[in-house]
């Protein structure tokens, strides 16, 4: 665990949402407090919101279809938005997207209205993303395939997907170090393939630590030659801009 004190901490309830601009070099630590949480996450270059997290470049740049340390989150401009510097879960889904209103009613029933449930009403990932995106001038055109932290989905040889909760445990953490000044948009709605029959999203702890972006010997930079080149692109962006 880190010795230093976070500069910011918050608890995001299950089904909650959060968006902030977070500076280059800072680290976000997410904690699955109870076990079984899901964090649907999108990232945008805070200075040029048209540059955003890109699922395909993240996957094909690293020859994986899940994320763990010491891998990176690529933008659609050949740059690194964030690095996974620490991870105790080992597998985070990149391809399943998020829930929407229709799926939420199909899975959990129509009883989850605000009228009936007050602030325990059934929220969905798509609406939560759009609510937070709107606050930064963004909208449906900015919705792209998101990450799902803490959720594992595996594929068989035919491409059939299975949600795998066998390794879930309370207290797991993943740390993301931001390599650019980034708009972070997230929500804690259930994973769309989570087979839990009732709507019971779990809370997530979020802490932010100060720090520096990846150095020359950083494990995330050295994990793939593609990542090393993307870091060069990222550093050139900052050299020219600043």
């Amino acid at each position: 665990m880190r010795e230093i004190t976070p500069i910011y901490q918050t608890l995001i309830p299950g089904g909650g949402m959060w968006s902030q601009v977070v500076g280059r070099g800072k680290t976000l630590r997410f904690t699955d407090l109870e076990g079984g949480a899901n964090v649907s996450l999108l990232l945008y270059n805070a200075d040029q919101l048209v540059e955003r997290y890109n699922m395909p470049d993240t996957l094909k740049g690293q020859h994986v279809f899940f994320l763990t340390a010491p891998l990176c989150l690529h933008s659609d401009m050949g740059r690194i938005l964030a690095s996974v510097t620490h991870d105790t879960r080992g597998w985070h889904d990149t391809v399943c997207g998020c829930t929407d209103a229709r799926l939420t009613v199909e899975k959990y029933g129509s009883q989850g209205t605000y009228q009936a449930c007050r602030n325990d009403f059934f929220r969905n990932g798509r609406e939560n993303f759009l609510i937070e995106l709107a606050k930064w001038g963004l909208g449906p055109k900015d919705l792209v395939p998101n990450l799902n932290l803490f959720s594992k989905v595996v594929a068989d040889g035919e491409g059939n997907l299975t949600f795998d909760a066998r390794e879930v445990k309370a207290g797991d953490v993943i740390e993301l170090r931001l390599e650019m000044k980034t708009l972070v948009v997230l929500n804690t709605c259930p994973h769309p393939l989570d087979p839990t029959p009732s709507y019971a999203p779990k809370p997530v702890g979020l802490e932010v630590f100060p720090g520096l972006p990846a150095g020359p010997e950083d494990p995330c930079r050295l994990s793939r030659p593609e990542n090393a080149r993307a870091f060069i692109n990222t550093e050139n962006y900052h050299l020219l801009r600043d």
Partner: protein, 211 residues
């Protein structure tokens, strides 16, 4: 799943060839059938779809994957939009598997994937930009999302590895879709020269539409 179509090309209302490195954009009306033919084999047709009446309601790779709980596109796959609507349904497929994880190449991603010096090479994102610019309606880079790669083979292993393999397509193989609403179809016929997705040899595709 390999499924052939009874449709007769001579009865098509549109029959065009898209050269490698070119873009193609066209409306496909609800009820029309849209076919893409891999004329010479192993070509990747990078494709995006938009609701013609609301282009922000567009093809969504993750909604398509989530809806069918499967990574690959073939006969029976419903191509879902970000708004949760079915844009098109794949009704015939003589290739058997199509990718929606690999996205499009861009000059920037080529610099990341292959070498910084590859940045000047022509890439699908530039073709997509040309396509949405030609289409107008205020479309731009924000409208370019994670696409379908028809005829491309990107297998994922149970361990979560992802590889780009030589295509499983061949000369004359095709995929055919029924439009479930009016859609704008945008193709970048991939110019990639750096990986085996098109056997290092980009070739033309043929597009047909039937009423």
């Amino acid at each position: 799943m390999i499924t052939e179509s009874p449709k007769d090309p001579t009865a098509a209302v549109l029959d065009e060839t898209v050269l490698a490195g070119d873009h193609w954009v066209q409306i496909v009306r609800a009820g029309q059938t849209f076919r893409i033919v891999d004329l010479e084999g192993n070509q990747a047709a990078d494709t995006l779809f938009y609701d013609a009446h609301d282009v922000s309601n567009r093809y969504s790779a993750c909604d398509t994957i989530r809806h069918q709980q499967n990574l690959y596109l073939t006969t029976g796959t419903k191509l879902m939009s970000t708004g949760g609507d079915v844009l098109l349904t794949i009704v015939a497929d003589t290739c058997g598997r199509h990718d929606t994880l690999g996205g499009a190449c861009s000059r920037e991603s080529n610099s990341m994937r292959y070498a910084l010096e590859k940045e000047p090479m022509h890439a699908c994102r530039d073709s997509f930009i040309n396509g949405v610019t030609a289409w107008g309606h205020g479309m731009g880079k924000r409208d370019i999302t994670c696409n379908i790669n028809f005829f491309m083979n990107v297998p994922v292993t149970p361990e979560g590895r992802l590889t780009f393999e030589d295509g499983i397509s061949g000369p004359g193989r095709y995929v055919e879709m029924r439009a479930e609403r009016d859609v704008v179809a945008l193709i970048s016929n991939c110019p990639q020269l750096n990986n085996p997705c098109n056997a290092y040899h980009p070739t033309p595709v043929r597009v047909l539409i039937w009423d």
